[in-house]
Each structure stands twice: as structure tokens, then as C-alpha cells.
């Protein structure tokens, strides 16, 4: 059941929460066309574009980036669920194998 240890599942869970929140917010900001992310969009610059073409391509770029961010945020949500599940799996079965100074060992 447990694929990774308890510590790495906690680490993954924290990372997923951070990723979910940050990518969600970033996605929302990019969707609203924030100029801060002007360089973070896929834009194939072409010298022969007219201003209208520029505008449409910019908007398309922004949309694409925002969607990418949200998909990645969803993926992180899935990762969060998986790692939480891993944590619980470890918690239930791993207690026997945890070595602390005060625990009894069967010999």
C-alpha cells in the first residue's frame, strides 16, 4: 500500500498545496491579462503582424497560459489526494515498524 515513506508523502502534500494555491492564483491573474506576466505567455512573434493580429495572438497566449496553470493546479490537487492517501496508508501500517526508544519489539 504505501509507495513512499511518511516523510516524503508529507513533503509531497505540502508541495501540492502550495502548487495548487499558487498556480490557481497565477492562472487567475494571467486570465485577466495582467501585464506582469507579459513575458510568460507563449507568443510566436512575427514581424509582419498587424496590430489586430498582435492583439488576438496576445489574448490567445494569455488564455493558453492561464489554462495551463489551471490544469497544472488540478494535477497538483490530484497529487495532494494521492499523497494524503499515502500518508494515511503509512500511518496505519507503518506504526509497527517505527522504531522509537520507548517501543516494544517482539523477539
Amino acid at each position: 500500500m504505501p509507495l513512499c515513506g511518511q516523510k516524503s508523502s508529507v513533503c509531497c502534500a505540502v508541495l501540492s498545496v502550495w502548487g495548487g494555491i499558487q498556480l490557481g492564483i497565477t492562472g487567475a491573474l494571467i486570465y485577466t491579462g495582467s501585464p506582469a506576466f507579459i513575458e510568460d505567455i507563449p507568443l510566436a512573434e512575427n514581424a509582419n503582424w498587424s496590430p489586430q493580429e498582435w492583439e488576438t495572438n496576445l489574448h490567445a497566449g494569455y488564455q493558453q497560459s492561464a489554462l495551463n496553470c489551471w490544469i497544472a493546479a488540478l494535477l497538483y490537487l490530484v497529487t495532494f489526494c494521492v499523497s494524503t492517501h499515502q500518508y494515511w496508508a503509512n500511518y496505519n501500517t507503518g506504526d509497527q515498524f517505527k522504531v522509537t526508544i520507548g517501543s516494544m519489539r517482539f523477539y
Binding site: 499558487q22 507563449p42 496590430p51 495551463n68 496553470c69 497544472a72 494535477l75
Partner: protein, 873 residues
């Protein structure tokens, strides 16, 4: 001399002295007291003081060796008990029985008469354990022998039956050695007796088998026959528990001469020889006997192990409490050894440093101890006057303890000196945040420290897992404050993971901008356009309400703009911090009543610092306020003078170079570009005053001391004439001391004057580190995240983003939070230790280390852990 004055001042003090008792601004008032304890109550009283943890005992018998002290016998007994306990503990740990952790504060130090009982019980426990262990080892040895014998008998059955077959060519199925004896009778006539073999059987280590065989071959010249079979069953060595792999061997030889040789060789190879009867019947009988004995033995063994386990469990239940009791007793006797006996043993006298504010509590504790012991004479505590340096006791709690330890790491503050840690609570996180200024990274640090603070109680027991975690956990409140301040400066610098937030709407606009493509200049994303703040279409002529305008993150001259801002605020903070340090030295001087030093040291110092560097800060503010892009010509932005050049010209008393471009900026007829009328005259005067302060700093104090000494000598001279006392020592030392005083003062003056220049410049690290942090953050985003967001086509970018974001997170935490955080922490610490504290701090005290059971038990527990680690391995 100074300390004495302080003592007298505070003992004679009025209500003022009570107001600064028990605050962190200065260390606590300490008194040296003598304790008079009746001997029968001494133990209990000291035990009570140990629980309280507020008395630092002074050794009154420093030249007495450890073996000649009064209570050396009791200490020896305690150590013997500790040794017993440790032995029991190692046995328990070997058996992996769980030891219950008890809360140590609930167990009081036992009375001396309890010691005898404890000793007795511990000795019996140890003896029982040792006995059981010995028996166990003996039984295991027996068991081993018997199982070896059993194996040997079994294997030799097989050998001998095979042998018979070779000789007889009989029915192969008959393996029953019962027939062997019959067969022997049958073939006896066939002169079989001459072929009768002597058999020696035994068990040997598999590792030595080859050498054994070869040796036998050589010694017997090939006349022995060795048959070997390995024992599959794994056996354990009784003493060490190692696994043994053995093999059964059986040697066939003829003649008695070989028997002795074979025996010697077997002994030499540590092979255990067992008597192997020739006839099958006997062998079978023996096998049965061995089997029964083995089963009996196993029962006895299990019983013994159970008994041992029960003993260990019983011991484990009380182990921790016994440890605590024994250690507390030992600590009390160590302290009692420091007392001196007088009056023929009717009273024990000890000396200790006590915080004056806690003397009522201490008195109560000592009286409780005396009551428990049932002493008739009450113990007394008396203050004693001493000229020794008092220890420094800063009463801290878990919030302020971290800051105090930061200050103590550089130097413990002298008794009753100003304690910088109070101010450090505010300035340290602030200066850190100026260097760290990123709200995103601050938020990461905040979550980490909040977790540590919320889970404080459960993490407290686990804090010693690793040294690094211990350090971070100990400083959790410091880091908490640092992170909150970082979020604040991050909002001011408008920097969150290198992006800016536009909360209020940027006050710059691009309405003016038009991008027109021509054939020669096609439109591209990298084109730049200049926004002039004079232009109302570009700039709203009012700044962004809070922090840096978010438009600057897209500006190519962002660094140039922020540099000047950050450099100026670094200098402002620096001069404020340093002048605050000089002010604290004023407080030191007032509390020590060295009023002459106020005029001879403090005033010149502050005038020098503020006159020159305070003036620089004032010029910064003037330039910020008076000049602007939207103002008309003498105050427009290109007329703003370069402050650094102005300052340098002021110091060197140089006239500024003529600049044609600044033609319209002159406010008066002279060539200087003045910010306000009379600037040149004011600057000259400030410079003159600053220079004049230097000789005052250099010569003021020594001359004053010389003057005072002359006065004192004049007084003594007049006295001497009256009393006719020869006083000749005053001549020589005074002269030498004066030279030393001059040198010291010279060093201090040079340090201060040069230091004010270098330390002011040193505060520019606030700018440097914040610039580095911002740039690192930006590089990380543009090199890592941008790849995921901009260089992938379509929805492949989502997967790339998913993976690259994790990578970006790791780098953010490791490089920007940890590395930059530690770097900024270090620089802030340096700023405090060197630039701030050198203005007032003496730091020549020593810490108050009270006799406290909690501390000694903690120390002993750590030593225990070390010992346990070596055993567990």
C-alpha cells in the same frame, strides 16, 4: 571602583531601584549572600534550592581536592548507584524492553535515609541480574553441547551404516545398526578383528575443517579416514550470541598410537570431541537420552529467559525515577561539598549569588526545607558585600530568550549594563526584512514557523533529532518576527516571487504610447518607450499610495531607480541605528554616575556623528522633498545635486566643478548649486565642529582623570603630613597608568571616528543584499518558470508546468529562503554586533548559572543519550 559605586548607589537607592528590577533593559540586581544552615537540615534546604533553580553557589573550599571534601563518601555512594543503574539500563536496552519515560519534575530529591533503601534495592537488582545472566550463559553452553552431541550421533549413524555396507556388500536397505553387532559376531571369524576401526567423533567449526583435515592427513601419514557432514541447524555461541556454523566429523583410525595424536589435534583445533559408542544400540540409547536432556534443558532455558525478562521489566518500571533520585542526590551533595563547616560542625555556611528580587522566594524555600527536616534552628540568609564581579542574570522567557542568546553569543553584558537584546527584538527582524524583502518568501517562512510554534509542545521533546532542526526550533520566535517583517517590506518593495501586485492601480499610464510599425521597424515585444513623469498623460503626478509602483517591474531602468532609493534608506537606517547606540551609551553613563564622561565622551560623539552623517541624512531628505520632475527649474530633477559629490566636497572643502548643463539651476550668484541658502557656510561650520570634537574625545577623559588624581593626591598629601604614613606606591603606578589610559582613549577615539565612516558605509549592505535577493528571485522566475509557461506549445505546457513548478519550489526554498535567509540573518547579526554595539556595549560579564535540578538532569539526559548510542550500535 565603578562596580562598588554601583553597588552603593543601588543599595542606597530609593524607589527608583525597584522600578528597573525585573526588566530586560538591564540585568537583574544580584546579591551575594551567605547561607547559615543547620547540618541536619542542610540537605533538604539545598534540595529545595535546587528545585527553585535561582542560586549560584560559590565554592568555599577551592583548594580542597575532591577526595578530601566533607561529603565525598555520599558522593561515592551515589556514583556507585548510578553505575548500577547504568548496568541495569544496558541490560534492559539489550533485551529491548521498553523504558517508561516519567515526568522528572514530580520526583523530589529523596531524603538521606531513603538513600540506604535505594542502595539496597539497586544492589539486589544488580546481583539478581548478574546471577541470572551467568546461569543463562551456562545453560546455553550446556544446550549447545547437547545439541552438538545429538547432531553428531545422528550423522555418525549414517556414516557407520555406510561403512558396514562397504565391508559387507549386504542388503543396502538394512541400515539398522542393530544388525551391526550381529554382523560383527558373524564376520569375526573372517579375521575382521584386524580391521576393527577406532572411532573418534566430534564437532568442529566449518571454517577450520580444511586445515583440520590436512593436519590429520599429515600427522597420520594418511592412515586416518575422516568423514564430514555439515550441521544445517544454526547454533548460537552462548557468550557472545554469534552464529556458529559447525560440522560433524568422524575419524576412523587403527591403533592406539594414533588415538593420542588425533586427540591432540582435536584439542588444538578447538573441536569438541564426544564419546561415540561403537554399537548401534548404545548409540540409539544415547540419542534418546540426549533428546530427553535437551528438551528438559529447553524448558529450563525458557523459564530462565522469562524470569530474566520479568526482572528487567520490573527494573524498567522504576528505572527513570531511580535515575532522577540518584542524580538529584548527587547534585545536592556536590553543592554541600562547597559549603564550609564552622563552629565545630554545628552550622554549615555557604555563599551564593542570588537575584535580589527573588530573595523572599529563596528564603521561603530554605525555610520549607528546614521544616521538612525538622530542624530546630532556622536557617538564615545574610547579604554580604563583595567587590567581585557580579554575574549577569537576564530574566527571559521563551519569546525573548532567543534574542538574548543572540546578544550573548557576542558577549554577555556586564553587570547592570544596558541590555541590547530588548531593542534587538525590533531592530533585528526589521533590518533582516530590509535585506530579504519578498512577500512570497516571507509567507513561506511564516508558514514554516507557524507550524513550529503551533506544534511547540509536541516538537519540544523531539528537538534533539538533529542539530540543525534544534537551531531552527530554538529560534522559531525570531524567525516568526523576521517573516512578518519580510512580508511587510515585500509589500513595500512590491515584490512577491519577483512579481508586483497592482492593488491600487498604477499611477503611470500608457495612454501616450502608440506603437506603429513601419517597413524598417517592425513591431516586436522588446520595444521600449520612455514615460516622462512631467507628462500628465504618463504620470498621475501623485505617487502610488503604498510601496513601489507596480509599473516598475516592466521598466528597463527598474534597478537604477530602486538602487538610489535603497541606498538612501540604508544610510538613513544606518545613521538612526548608530545614533541610537550612542544614546544607549548615555544611559550607561548616567546609571554609572560618570557624569564627566557625558560631557567628555557622549556629547562629542553624538555631535560628531549627527553633525556629519546626520547632516548627510538631512540632505537626503531635503533632496527628496525639494526636488521633483514636475517642479520648475531650480528645483527640477536635473538640477538636483549629487549628494555624494556634495558630501565629498564638504569634507575636502573643495569647490564644485562648473557644469554648463546646470546653468539654470543656480539660485544665487555663486557657482555652487545650493539646495538652500547658506549651505556652504553651514557645511563649513559643521565640518569645523566635527573636527573640534575629535581632540575633545581624545584628550578629554585622560585630562580629567589626571586632574582628579592630582586633587586626590593633594588631599592625601595633606593627610600624610598629618598622619606620618609612608605612601610611596602612588608615584610609580600613576605615571604608567596614565600612559595606558591615553593609549586606550586614543584607540577608542580612532575607532569611533573611523568607525563612523566605515560603519555608515557598511549599512549599504542593506541595499546590496536586497538587490541580490530581488535579482535572484527574478532570475529564478525567468529561467525556470518562464520555460514552462512560454516555451511549450498548447497543453504540453500544463505537464511541463506541473513538473517545473516543483523544481522551482525546491530552488525557491533552498536558494532564496534558506541560503538568502541565512545570509541576511548573518549580515543583520553583524550589523548589530559590530556597528550597533560598538557604540556602547562593554560585554564583559559572565552568565548566571544557578544550581538547578532541571539543568543538571537535562545535561545528564544528554550524556545518557550519547552512551545509549554506543550501546545500540
Amino acid at each position: 571602583m565603578d562596580l562598588e559605586m554601583t553597588e552603593v548607589a543601588f543599595f542606597n537607592g530609593t524607589g527608583n531601584c525597584c522600578s528597573d528590577m525585573g526588566t530586560l533593559f538591564k540585568s537583574e540586581l544580584m546579591s551575594r549572600c551567605q547561607l547559615y544552615l543547620p547540618p541536619e537540615a542542610a540537605y533538604n534546604c539545598v534540595a529545595e534550592l535546587g528545585e527553585l533553580g535561582l542560586a549560584q553557589f560559590v565554592d568555599l573550599n577551592p583548594d580542597v581536592s575532591a577526595f578530601q571534601r566533607q561529603f565525598v563518601g555520599e558522593v561515592k555512594r551515589c556514583e556507585e548507584m548510578e553505575r548500577t543503574l547504568r548496568y541495569v539500563e544496558t541490560e534492559i536496552v539489550k533485551e529491548k524492553v521498553g523504558i517508561a519515560d516519567e515526568s522528572e519534575t514530580s520526583i523530589p530529591a529523596p531524603a538521606p535515609r531513603e538513600m540506604v533503601e535505594l542502595e539496597a534495592s539497586l544492589t539486589t537488582m544488580e546481583n539478581n541480574l548478574r546471577e541470572v545472566n551467568i546461569n543463562y550463559v551456562a545453560l546455553r553452553k550446556n544446550h549447545l553441547e547437547l545439541s552438538e552431541l545429538k547432531n553428531m550421533l545422528r550423522k555418525t549413524e549414517v556414516f557407520l551404516s555406510e561403512n558396514q555396507l562397504n565391508l559387507q556388500e549386504l542388503d543396502e536397505n538394512t541400515r539398522l545398526l542393530d544388525d551391526a553387532s550381529e554382523r560383527e559376531k558373524d564376520i569375526e571369524d573372517q579375521a575382521y578383528s584386524s580391521m576393527k576401526f577406532n572411532i573418534t567423533g566430534g564437532v568442529i567449526d566449518r571454517a577450520r575443517l580444511l586445515a583440520f583435515e590436512r593436519m590429520l592427513w599429515r600427522v597420520s601419514k594418511g592412515n586416518v579416514f575422516l568423514k564430514v557432514a555439515e550441521i544445517d541447524e544454526q547454533m548460537e555461541d552462548p557468550g557472545s550470541g554469534d552464529v556458529l556454523n559447525k560440522a560433524v566429523f568422524i575419524i576412523f583410525f587403527q591403533g592406539e598410537a594414533l588415538r593420542s595424536r588425533v586427540k591432540k589435534i582435536c584439542e588444538g583445533f578447538h573441536a569438541s570431541v564426544y564419546p561415540c559408542p561403537d554399537s548401534g544400540v548404545e548409540r540409539r540409547e544415547m540419542l534418546c537420552g540426549v533428546d530427553t536432556r535437551l528438551s528438559d534443558l529447553s524448558t529450563v532455558l525458557t523459564q530462565t529467559t522469562e524470569h530474566r525478562h520479568r526482572l528487567l521489566v520490573a527494573a524498567a518500571a522504576t528505572l527513570r525515577s531511580s535515575y532522577v533520585k540518584v542524580r538529584k542526590m548527587k547534585a545536592v551533595y556536590h553543592v554541600l561539598n562547597m559549603f564550609s563547616q564552622r563552629d565545630g560542625g554545628r552550622v554549615l555556611i555557604g555563599e551564593a549569588w542570588l537575584p535580589t528580587a527573588d530573595i523572599p522566594d529563596i528564603r521561603a524555600a530554605v525555610n520549607t526545607g528546614a521544616q521538612t527536616a525538622g530542624a530546630t534552628i532556622p536557617p538564615t540568609i545574610e547579604k554580604v558585600h563583595t567587590t567581585e564581579q557580579h554575574p549577569t542574570f537576564n530574566r527571559t522567557n521563551k519569546y525573548t530568550g532567543g534574542f538574548q542568546s543572540l546578544v550573548d553569543a557576542y558577549g554577555v553584558n556586564t553587570y547592570r549594563e544596558v541590555n541590547p537584546s530588548v531593542y534587538t527584538i525590533a531592530t533585528f527582524p526589521f533590518l533582516f526584512a530590509v535585506m530579504f524583502g519578498d512577500a512570497g518568501h516571507g509567507a513561506i517562512m511564516l508558514t514554516a514557523t507557524l507550524w513550529m510554534i503551533i506544534k511547540e509542545k509536541s516538537l519540544e521533546s523531539k528537538r534533539n533529532i538533529s542539530e540543525i532542526f534544534n537551531i531552527f526550533f530554538g529560534g522559531r520566535y525570531i524567525v516568526f518576527l523576521m517573516s512578518i517583517f519580510s512580508i511587510y517590506t515585500g509589500l513595500i518593495y512590491n515584490d512577491i516571487f519577483s512579481k508586483s501586485f497592482n492593488i491600487f492601480g498604477s499611477h503611470w499610464s500608457s495612454k501616450q504610447m502608440s506603437f506603429v510599425a513601419t517597413n524598417s521597424t517592425p513591431l516586436s515585444l522588446g520595444m521600449s518607450y520612455m514615460l516622462d513623469p512631467k507628462d500628465n498623460n504618463s504620470y498621475h503626478s501623485e505617487p502610488y499610495p503604498f510601496g513601489v509602483d507596480p509599473v516598475w517591474q516592466s521598466a528597463t531602468n527598474k534597478i537604477g531607480f530602486l538602487n538610489t532609493y535603497k541606498m538612501k534608506i540604508s544610510l538613513i537606517f544606518g545613521v538612526i541605528h548608530m545614533s541610537f547606540g550612542v544614546m544607549l551609551s548615555l544611559w550607561n553613563k548616567i546609571s554609572k554616575k560618570l557624569y564627566h564622561q557625558i560631557f567628555l565622551e557622549f556629547i562629542p560623539q553624538i555631535v560628531f556623528l549627527l553633525g556629519i552623517f546626520g547632516y548627510l541624512v538631512t540632505m537626503i531628505f531635503i533632496k527628496w522633498v525639494m526636488y521633483g520632475a514636475n517642479k520648475a527649474d531650480p528645483f527640477s530633477e536635473h538640477c538636483a545635486p549629487n549628494l555624494l559629490i556634495t558630501f565629498i566636497n564638504m569634507m575636502l572643502m573643495k569647490k564644485a566643478d562648473v557644469d554648463i548643463k546646470m546653468d539654470k539651476c543656480h539660485t544665487s550668484l555663486n557657482y555652487e548649486i545650493d539646495m538652500y541658502p547658506g549651505q556652504q557656510e553651514l557645511q563649513k561650520m559643521l565640518l569645523l565642529i566635527g573636527v573640534l570634537m575629535v581632540p575633545i574625545m581624545l584628550l578629554g577623559k585622560p585630562l580629567f582623570i589626571m586632574y582628579r588624581r592630582r586633587q586626590a593626591r593633594a588631599r592625601y598629601d595633606s593627610l600624610r603630613d598629618e598622619l606620618l604614613e609612608p605612601q610611596q606606591e602612588e608615584g610609580g603606578p600613576v605615571e604608567e597608568d596614565f600612559g595606558e589610559i591615553m593609549i586606550n582613549q586614543g584607540i577608542h577615539t580612532i575607532e569611533y571616528v573611523l568607525g563612523s565612516v566605515s560603519h555608515t558605509a557598511s549599512y549599504l549592505r542593506l541595499w546590496a543584499l536586497s538587490l541580490a535577493h530581488a535579482q535572484l528571485s527574478e532570475v529564478l522566475w525567468s529561467m525556470v518558470m518562464r520555460i514552462a509557461l512560454a516555451s511549450f506549445k498548447g497543453y504540453a505546457g500544463a505537464i511541463a508546468l506541473y513538473l517545473i513548478f516543483a523544481f522551482w519550489c525546491m530552488l525557491t526554498i533552498s536558494i532564496l529562503c534558506l541560503m538568502e535567509g541565512l545570509s541576511a540573518f548573518l549580515h543583520t547579526l553583524r550589523l548589530h554586533w559590530v556597528e550597533f554595539q560598538s557604540k556602547f556595549y562593554e560585554g564583559a560579564g559572565y552568565l548566571f548559572m544557578p544550581f538547578s535540578f532541571r539543568e543538571s538532569l537535562k545535561q545528564a539526559a544528554e550524556d545518557d543519550k550519547e552512551v545509549l548510542k554506543t550501546i545500540a550500535k
